[in-house]
Amino acid sequence: MLEKVEEIKAEALKQLDGIDSVKDLESWRIYYLGKKSPLTQILRGLAALSIEERKTVGAAANRVKALLENSSAEKAKSLREVQLAAEAKEATFDISLPGRPWPVGHLHPITQTMEEMCDIFVSMGFQIVTGPDIEWDYYNFEALNIPAEHPARDTMSTSWVDTREGERQQLLRTHTTSVTARTLEKMEPPIRAIEPGRIYRYEASDATHVPMFHQIDGIAVDTGITMADLKGTLYEFSRRFFGEDRKVRFRVDYFPFVEPGVEMAIECIACHGSGCHLCSNSGWLEILGAGMTHPNVLRRGGIDPEVYTSFAFGIGVERPHMLRYGVDDIRLYFANDLRFLRQF
C-alpha cells in the first residue's frame, strides 16, 4: 500500500510539473484531490487493513495529500504570475473602446434650481411650506391687499376654475405669495418660511411667456426685523446663487402686499454692467421683488403690525436658470426634449 501511495505521489508531481494552464490544473486537482481521487480511495479502504498498517498508510496518504495540496497552490501561484507577465506585455487591449453603458438620469433643471434655492434659504433658517395650486381669490388677492378691480390684478392675468353656479370662485394661483397669506394665518411668530411652487398666468406662450412656471416666495416675521435684514438675506442669497463677485442693486418698486417695496437686480451676467441686449442696455437684470410686509397683510394673517415687523420676497425659478445658462426660450423647460434636459 505504501508503494502505491508513493507511486501516486510520483505520478501526480510529474503531471503537475507539465501543467501550464489554469484549466489543466483544475482537472489535475479534481483527479488527485477530489472526492474520488486515488488517495481518497486509499483512505476510505483503511478500515480493511491491520491497525499497524492503518497507521503507517494513513499517515503516508495524509502526508502526500497535504504535499499535493501545497504543490497545487504553488503551481496556481506560478501560473498566475506567468499569466500576469503575459498580460503585461499584451499590446492589443484597447482602453479606448467605450465602457459598458450605465443609464444616467437627471433631475429636471427646474427641480435642480428649486432645490438649490431652497437649500440656501433653509440654511438661513427658513423652512419649506407649500400650498394649493388652485386657490380661493382671498389668498391670491384679497388677503394680499389686492381687492377686486385693483389694477395690480391686470399685471397677473388669471386663469379661473370652471365652478358651478353658486360655488365660490377658484383660480389658478398667480404667485406663490398666496402661500404667504396662508402661512401668516397658520403659523405664529417667529416665522421664517419659503414657499416654492407652480404658478399660472392666463397668457399665450412665446419665448418669454408660458402659462405655468415656478416661483419661490419667502416670509420672515418677528419683532425687530428690518429692511436691513431683508437686504442682508437677499444679498446672501445672491452671493451664493449668482456668485461672490456679482453686484446687487436694490431699488424702489411697488407690490400691493409690501411697503416699502423693493426690487433686487444683479449686475448683467452677459455684459457685467456695461449694457447689452440681454439687460436692455441697463447693465442690470431684475431678479426678484420684495419688501416689508404690508401692515394690512399682517393684520389679515392675525399678526399685530404694531408688535411684529416682517419682510417678504418672491423669486422666479426659470429666469435665474435661463440667465445662468444662456437659455433663450422659456418653453424649452416644459417641452421636455431630452436633448435639452440631458444638458443639465
Binding site: 473602446l97 467605450p98 459598458r100 453603458p101 450605465w102 444616467v104 438620469g105 437627471h106 433631475l107 427641480t111 438661513m124 433658517g125 423652512q127 407649500t130 395650486d133 388652485i134 378691480e149 385693483h150 389694477p151 399685471t155 386663469s159 376654475v161 377658484q170 389658478l172 417667529p190 421664517r192 407652480r198 392666463y202 397668457e203 399665450a204 402659462p211 405655468m212 419683532t223 425687530g224 426685523i225 428690518t226 429692511m227 436691513a228 437686504k231 442682508g232 438675506t233 444679498y235 431699488r251 424702489v252 411697488y254 400691493p256 411697503e259 416699502p260 417695496g261 423693493v262 436692455s280 404690508h294 401692515p295 394690512n296 415687523t309 416644459f334 421636455n336 431630452l338 436633448r339 434636459l341
Partner: protein
C-alpha cells in the same frame, strides 16, 4: 409714460446728465427703460426756409424748391404736395443719414440727378427723420424756427420711457415726474401759474351739473369756452405729443391730451351745442343700454357702469370714452370741458367689461386724486382760449360731494428705524418729505405729516416710511443677517419623500420631466382603448387659452406618454422618464385635492446597443424591478396584486398594495400600456409604466426597520428545480418556502416551459439559502427542512422535482 426732457425742463432745472437722472429715477421707483435720443442721427440736417417753388422742366409731379439756408441757397427737386413759399423746413445736406421711407433702412443721402435736374440735398418728411410714420408731405416747422441752425439744436431731445407703478398715477404726467426729479436732485419744481380772462356769460347760466351717483363720482368740474375755432394745434404742441407717442388730431383734442400728459388728469371735451337740455347728469347706465362711443363702436352697458348723460341720454362713458353724439367736430364752436374724479374700481370694472382701455381709464382706475381736477381744467381752459381763440365763460362749475379733508399721519424716528433699520433724524425725515411737497409739522418727538393733494397713494404711516427711505436711497440701508431666534422647524415630510424618490429614480437612470399641469380632453380620452371621456370629468378652466390647456390633469400618464412620443421621433434606444407632481381631483364645496403622484415610463432597449451587445427591450418585469428598488430605498414593503386598469395591458399589470392592519391600501399600478392606448399616442412599441400616489405612500414611508445582526454562522445553499402546472404562480411557491424560518433567502433563477417539460407544465428553479442565527446547520437539519418544503409543495401545489 414717455417724458421728453425738454418738456420736463419747463418745470424743473435738470442739472444731471440724462443718464444720471434716469438712474436716480429708476432707483427711486420710476424705472426708466431706454433713453430715446431724438435727433441723435440728424447730422447735416439744418433749418431752411422755402423762398421759391418752380415747376420741374421735365416732370409734372415734381417741383423745384429754392431753400434759404442762411449762409447760402440750394435748389432741390421735391415731390411733396405741401411745398409753400415761406415755410420753415428741415433741409438735409448731402451726407445726412435718413430713413428711406420705402424700405425703412437708414441710408446716406447722395447727390442725384432727377429727371435731368441735379439735386444736392432734400427737404425732409417726418418719416425720413425717424420722427413718425408720416410721409404724406414734408415736415413744416414753426415760423419761429431759426434759419441755418441744425435741426437737432432746434428740436433734438431725449425722451425717457418710464415704467410707472400702479400706485403712482400722479406720475403718469410730466409734472409728476418733474416733482420727483426735483426732490431727488435737491431742487424745487416750478409749476407755471395759470392765468386767463373770463369774458363770456357765466357758466352757471349756460349749463347745470348734477352728480346722481356720488359714490362713483366724488367730484365733477367743468368750464365752458365759446367762439372756438377748430384748427391744427401749434407745431410745438404737436411735437411734444408725438414725442410722447400721441397722434395730433385738432387743437381741442390735442389740448386735452397735452394737459393730461402734463398734469396726469384726464379731460374730456364735449361740443357744448350738442349737449341736450343744457344739463349734465353723472349717473349709472340703464341696464342693457346701447351706446356708441367715439370710435364708432356700439357698446352694451350694464347698470354698474357710470355714464355722463345730458337732458336726453348718455353722452359719454365716464372716465373711459366719450360718445359720438357729443364729439367735438370741425364745426364745433363751444367746448364744455370736463375734469372729474371717478371711483377707481368702477372705472376698472367698466373698462374691463367693455374691453375698452384708454389713456383716461388707465389713469382713473389707478385712483387719481380729486384735487388734480382744477389745475388741469384751468390750464386746458387757458390753452383753448389762447390757441383756439375762444372766450371763456365766467367761473367754473365744481360739484364736489366726495370732499375729504386730508388726514395727517404721525411719524417718529423710532417707527422709521423699526421698519427701515437705520436711525433717521427728525430733521432728515422732514427734509425728505418736504422735498416731496409733504406738509410737515415737527415737534421734539414726531412729525405730523400731511400729503400733498396729488398723492392718492398715501394711506398709512408706513407709506411715509417708504417715502423717507426712497429719498434717502435704499443703498444707504445696511445689510444685516437675521438675528432673531431661529424659529422651530416642522417641515412637511412629503417634501423629503418627494426629494428622495426623485433622487432614487435619477440614480436608476431616469430622466425627470416637468409637463404642464393643464392638459386636453383628447389626451385624457386617449388613455383608454375605447376612447371614452374620463370619468369623473376632470376640473376645467373657465377661460382656457387653448384646447390643449383646458383641463387640470387628473393623472400624469397622459402628459408623460405625449412626452415619450415626442422624444421617440428623435431618440433611439431606451427611454426612462418620470414626473413627480400634483394631480387635481374635484372635491365638493372645497378646493380640489392635490395629491403628489409619481409616474414613470420605460420604453425601448434595456441596454444601449454597443459593441458589447444589447439585451432586449423593457417589459413588465423591468418596471416591477424599478418599483421594487424604489420601495426598498423608501423602506416600504408592498405586494403586487392582480389589477384591472383599462388603460393597461389586460394581464400584464398589477396593483401596488400595502397591507395595513388588515386593510389593503393601493399605492398605485405597474404594467405595460394597452397597445391600443399606445397607438393613440402614436407609440409603436411596448411601454412600461408605473404610477405611485406619493401622498398615499407617505404614512408608510416614514419609519425605518430596526437593525438586524449580520449572520455569524455560514449558510447552506441548495438548488431546487420544481415542475408545476403552468398556472401556479411564483408567489404561491415562494409563500410556502418562506414560511420556514431556516430559509433565509430564496432566489428564483430560472423559469422554463417548453420541450423539456410536459405540456401545461413549467419548471421553476430556486436557490435557497438555509441559515440559523445560533449555529452552523448540519446536512441533516437542512435535508429535513427541505423534505418538509417539498412535501408541502407537492401536497398543496402538485409540484414535483425536475428529473
Amino acid at each position: 409714460m414717455k417724458v421728453p426732457l425738454n418738456w420736463l425742463k419747463d418745470y424743473v432745472d435738470v442739472t444731471l446728465p440724462p443718464a444720471a437722472l434716469a438712474e436716480r429715477l429708476t432707483l427711486a421707483g420710476f424705472e426708466v427703460g431706454e433713453l430715446e435720443v431724438i435727433g441723435g442721427s440728424w447730422n447735416h440736417v439744418i433749418i431752411g426756409q422755402i423762398t421759391a417753388v418752380n415747376p420741374h422742366p421735365n416732370a409734372d409731379r415734381l417741383r423745384l424748391a429754392t431753400v434759404d439756408l442762411g449762409q447760402e441757397q440750394e435748389t432741390v427737386v421735391c415731390g411733396a404736395p405741401n411745398l409753400n413759399t415761406g415755410d420753415k423746413i428741415a433741409f438735409a445736406r448731402v451726407g445726412a443719414r435718413l430713413v428711406n421711407p420705402y424700405n425703412g433702412k437708414t441710408e446716406e443721402l447722395k447727390p442725384a440727378k432727377i429727371r435731368g435736374v441735379v439735386s444736392s440735398g432734400m427737404i425732409c418728411s417726418e418719416k425720413e427723420l425717424g420722427i413718425s410714420d408720416s410721409h404724406e408731405g414734408i415736415m413744416v416747422l414753426s415760423a419761429e424756427a431759426t434759419i441755418g441752425i441744425s435741426l437737432s439744436d432746434y428740436m433734438g431731445d431725449v425722451v425717457m420711457d418710464l415704467d410707472i407703478t400702479p400706485n403712482r398715477p400722479d406720475c403718469l404726467s410730466v409734472i409728476g415726474i418733474a416733482r420727483e426729479a426735483a426732490a431727488l436732485s435737491g431742487q424745487s419744481p416750478h409749476i407755471p401759474e395759470i392765468k386767463y380772462e373770463e369774458t363770456a356769460t357765466p357758466i352757471e347760466e349756460r349749463i347745470s351739473i348734477e352728480i346722481a351717483d356720488p359714490d362713483l363720482c366724488p367730484r365733477y368740474c367743468a368750464s365752458l369756452i365759446t367762439d372756438v375755432k377748430i384748427t391744427e394745434s401749434p407745431p410745438w404742441m404737436q411735437e411734444r405729443l408725438i414725442a410722447c407717442g400721441q397722434r395730433p388730431i385738432n387743437n381741442i383734442v390735442d389740448i386735452t391730451n397735452y394737459v393730461m400728459l402734463e398734469y396726469g388728469q384726464p379731460l374730456h371735451s364735449f361740443d357744448y351745442h350738442r349737449i341736450r337740455g343744457r344739463k349734465i347728469i353723472v349717473r349709472r347706465a340703464a341696464e342693457g343700454e346701447d351706446f356708441t362711443t367715439l370710435d364708432e363702436t356700439e357698446r352694451k352697458l350694464t347698470g354698474n357702469m357710470l355714464t355722463i348723460a345730458d337732458g336726453e341720454g348718455t353722452v359719454a362713458i365716464a372716465g373711459v370714452m366719450g360718445g359720438l353724439n357729443s364729439e367735438v367736430t370741425e364745426n364745433t364752436t363751444a367746448i364744455l370741458l370736463e375734469a372729474a374724479s371717478f371711483n377707481a374700481a368702477s372705472i376698472h370694472y367698466t373698462s374691463h367689461h367693455l374691453g375698452l382701455t384708454s389713456e383716461a381709464s388707465m389713469r382713473f382706475e389707478r385712483g387719481i386724486s380729486a384735487g388734480m381736477t382744477i389745475p388741469a381744467l384751468k390750464h386746458a381752459t387757458q390753452l383753448i382760449a389762447e390757441l383756439g381763440g375762444g372766450k371763456v365763460a365766467k367761473g367754473i362749475i365744481d360739484v364736489y360731494p366726495g370732499k375729504q379733508e386730508p388726514a395727517p399721519f404721525l411719524l417718529t424716528p423710532g417707527e422709521v428705524e423699526r421698519i427701515v433699520g437705520i436711525k433717521v433724524s427728525l430733521k432728515k425725515m422732514t427734509e425728505a418729505l418736504t422735498a416731496l411737497s409733504f406738509d410737515c409739522q415737527a415737534d421734539a418727538r414726531q412729525i405730523r405729516v400731511t400729503a400733498p393733494y396729488w398723492r392718492s397713494d398715501i394711506r398709512q404711516a408706513v407709506d411715509l416710511i417708504e417715502e423717507v427711505a426712497r429719498v434717502i436711497g435704499y443703498e444707504q440701508i445696511p445689510t444685516t443677517m437675521l438675528s432673531d431666534p431661529l424659529p422651530r422647524q416642522n417641515p412637511d415630510p412629503v417634501l423629503s419623500l418627494n426629494r428622495k424618490s426623485r433622487h432614487v429614480l435619477v440614480g436608476h437612470g431616469f430622466q425627470e420631466v416637468m409637463t404642464y399641469t393643464l392638459t386636453s380632453l383628447e389626451m385624457l380620452t386617449n388613455l383608454v382603448p375605447e376612447r371614452t371621456p374620463p370619468e369623473p370629468m376632470p376640473i376645467r378652466v373657465a377661460n382656457p387659452m387653448t384646447a390643449e390647456q383646458e383641463y387640470l390633469r387628473p393623472n400624469l400618464r397622459a402628459n408623460l406618454l405625449a412626452t415619450l412620443a415626442a422624444n421617440r421621433r428623435h431618440e433611439d434606444g431606451g427611454i426612462r422618464l418620470f414626473e413627480l407632481g400634483k394631480i387635481y381631483l374635484h372635491r365638493e364645496n372645497d378646493l380640489p385635492t392635490e395629491p403628489d403622484v409619481l409616474c414613470g415610463i420605460l420604453c425601448g432597449t434595456r441596454v444601449e446597443k454597443t459593441w458589447l451587445g444589447g439585451n432586449g427591450s423593457f417589459d413588465f418585469y423591468d418596471v416591477k424591478g424599478v418599483v421594487e428598488a424604489l420601495l426598498q430605498h423608501l423602506d416600504v414593503t408592498a405586494d403586487f396584486q392582480k389589477s384591472s386598469d383599462a388603460g393597461l395591458h389586460p394581464t400584464r399589470q398589477a396593483a401596488i398594495v400595502i397591507e395595513d392592519n388588515g386593510m389593503k391600501v393601493k399605492l398605485g399600478l405597474i404594467g405595460e400600456l394597452h397597445p391600443k392606448v399606445a397607438d393613440a399616442f402614436e407609440i409603436a412599441e411596448t411601454v412600461c409604466l408605473f404610477e405611485i400616489n406619493v401622498t398615499t405612500l407617505l404614512p408608510f414611508a416614514t419609519g425605518h426597520e430596526m437593525y438586524q445582526a449580520i449572520p455569524r454562522f455560514p449558510g447552506t445553499i441548495r438548488d431546487l428545480a420544481l415542475v408545476v402546472d403552468a398556472n401556479v404562480t411564483h408567489q404561491r411557491v415562494l409563500e410556502i418556502i418562506q414560511s420556514y424560518p431556516l430559509v433565509s433567502e430564496v432566489v428564483l433563477f430560472d423559469v422554463y416551459s417548453g420541450k423539456q417539460v410536459s405540456p401545461g407544465k413549467k419548471s421553476l428553479a430556486y436557490r435557497l439559502v438555509y441559515q440559523s442565527p445560533t449555529h452552523t446547520l448540519t446536512d441533516e437539519e437542512v435535508n429535513k427542512v427541505q423534505a418538509q418544503i417539498l412535501n408541502r409543495l407537492s401536497g398543496e401545489l402538485g409540484a414535483t422535482l425536475r428529473g
